[in-house]
Amino acid sequence: MIAILCFCIYFFVIITIPLRVIIIDSLIFNFPLDVLIFFISHIFLLLGIHLRFKNRYLYFADLYDKEDL
């Protein structure tokens, strides 16, 4: 569930970029806010990938490896 939540945060950030461009038309830390948010959203993406890998696909991988092909 946490993995799915992380993916949702990432896609929400990506999809709402035009919305934020309209609402927040200012710069912070002397750097474009959108670019910062864009990069930070990748932390959620990578965390989601890690959790999905650990909780789901590693199980199938182990299952497949146990069986001699």
Partner: protein
């Protein structure tokens, strides 16, 4: 020693090194097509990760990446959409591995032909795979040629640069096959990753530090997020990436399912880090060349020609390594498609040479074909060729998804979906018949999905859905 001579010396040393690796690989190789194309399906984690990253990170990243962040700015952040690929790559690639290992498939089209019980689907899928690989492979040689020309100030001109790259690849491809490709990919991947990191630090230093970097970027119009519908189209079109035959075949090569899964999870992290570095180099160029340069594809070469000409020799090697490590895998994949999927259709039993010799011959002939195309496409945009190659594979999305997730998928639906999808892509790409300003991949995706669903429902047929689900332990 002049800069040009130093550059040539470094390249000669590098090519000799690659040749030595290919000799070692040749000694370990077995003379069969499974070993030649898939390294006997026994590639461990480090080598698999290195070859996946080296194959994905082409000159489109090392050369065209900085160029596009420099020339077009923040709009090109869509490059980073590749980082999310593991979300879909993991479930699909794991399935490719499981079924591919059990049924001893070498090419993607073999799996599709087997599932839908159709030789026609295998042939059409093979042709789609070939068409997608060729522009992508040409882009690599074009980029290597351009970088040679830029960093040696024309002493090694474009044509000569492309020739050197083609001969270098041919040397190790002919003898070592996939084992040589994987070993050299590992060396080349590590090499260009290190050189990219060093290059990023150097460019930040030349700009005047992080503060100046941030300030120049913030005040540049290129930092503005001018998001259009195109931005979202790229989000979708990246999904076709792992349907490229040479990426798909990485799943067949893995030593175990666990190796493959860890490889994909780590792949996301490495892609993010390397793209971030490429973004820094491209963005820093905004303050190094505030007035622009004549050919933006040469920006990487121009930075080093200006600030550190001798180190530029190593950057050329990095671009060379990125290009070679991608194009060699693509050539090998092309050779496997022709010898496994298309040979019987066009030659039947007329050929008197062994399958192994045929595979090697075809791979080298493909290299010659791509070489001549690259010479003729000197002025082509690298990124356009790459996007063309990747996005054409979008037509695989419904057909492959149907194999695992839709019981009612049928042979007619798959065949018509592939044909209509490919046709609509080519019409949108090369004619003005479709007047909407959409990416060809978007048009092809919509057409292929609709035709797959409609024709599967109208013309049902038996597939191996239940057998595949059983193999995958999903039922």
């Amino acid at each position: 020693m002049s800069v040009v001579n130093f550059t040539i010396l470094i390249l000669v040393v590098y090519l000799v090194g690659l040749k030595l690796v290919s000799i070692l690989a040749h000694k370990k190789s077995e003379k069969n097509t499974s070993d030649y194309f898939l390294a006997s399906r026994n590639v461990g984690l480090f080598l698999l990760l290195a070859t996946t990253v080296a194959s994905v990170f082409s000159t489109a990243t090392v050369v065209a990446g900085p160029a596009n962040f420099y020339g077009k700015g923040t709009d090109y952040l869509w490059y980073f959409f590749l980082v999310m690929l593991p979300i879909v790559m993991m479930p699909f690639m794991l399935k490719f591995y499981r079924i591919g290992s059990l049924k001893r498939f070498v090419t993607p089209a073999q799996m599709l032909g087997d599932f839908y019980n159709s030789k026609s689907i295998q042939v059409v899928a093979a042709i789609v795979g070939l068409v997608s690989l060729i522009p992508y492979a040409v882009a690599q040689l074009v980029a290597v040629g351009k970088t040679f020309d830029s960093l040696t100030a024309g002493v090694i001109n474009y044509e000569f640069g492309v020739t050197i790259a083609a001969i270098g690849i041919g040397m190790y491809l002919f003898f070592g096959g996939s084992r040589a490709v994987i070993w050299t990919d590992a060396i080349q991947g590590v090499l260009f990753s290190i050189l990219l990191v060093i290059s990023a630090f150097l460019t930040i230093k030349w700009v005047g530090g992080l503060e100046v970097f941030a300030s120049v970027y913030a005040n540049s119009p290129k930092s503005e997020f001018n998001v259009s519908f195109r931005f979202y189209e790229y989000l979708i079109s990246w999904f076709s990436f792992f349907f490229l035959p040479y990426i798909w075949q990485r799943a067949y090569m893995a030593k175990s399912a666990k190796t493959l899964t860890i490889n994909i999870a780590l792949f996301g992290v490495i892609v993010f880090v390397l793209f971030f570095i490429v973004w820094i180099i491209g963005t820093a160029s905004l303050s190094i060349f505030p007035d622009g340069i004549s050919d933006v594809d040469n920006v990487l070469g121009a930075i080093f020609a200006k600030h550190a000409p001798y180190f530029g020799a190593f950057v050329l090697v990095a671009a060379f390594a990125a290009g070679m490590s991608t194009v060699d895998s693509q050539l090998l994949s092309t050779g496997s498609i022709i010898s496994k999927d298309l040979k019987d259709v066009f030659f039947k039993d007329k050929l008197k040479i062994s399958e192994f010799s045929f595979a090697r011959l075809v791979t080298i002939l493909t290299l010659v074909f791509i070489y001549f195309l690259s010479i003729g496409l000197k002025s082509a945009s690298i990124i356009d060729l790459v996007v063309l190659g990747i996005s054409f594979c979008i037509v695989f999305v419904p057909v492959v998804s149907g194999m695992f997730y839709w019981k009612r998928s049928s042979k007619a639906g798959a065949l018509i979906s592939l044909l209509f999808g490919a046709l609509s892509f080519l019409i949108n790409q090369f004619t003005d018949i479709i007047t909407y300003d959409l990416l060809s991949s978007t048009v092809a995706l919509v057409v292929s999905v609709i035709s797959f669903i409609v024709f599967s429902l109208i013309f049902p047929s038996s597939t191996k859905y239940d057998e595949y689900q059983k193999i995958l332990k999903r039922s």
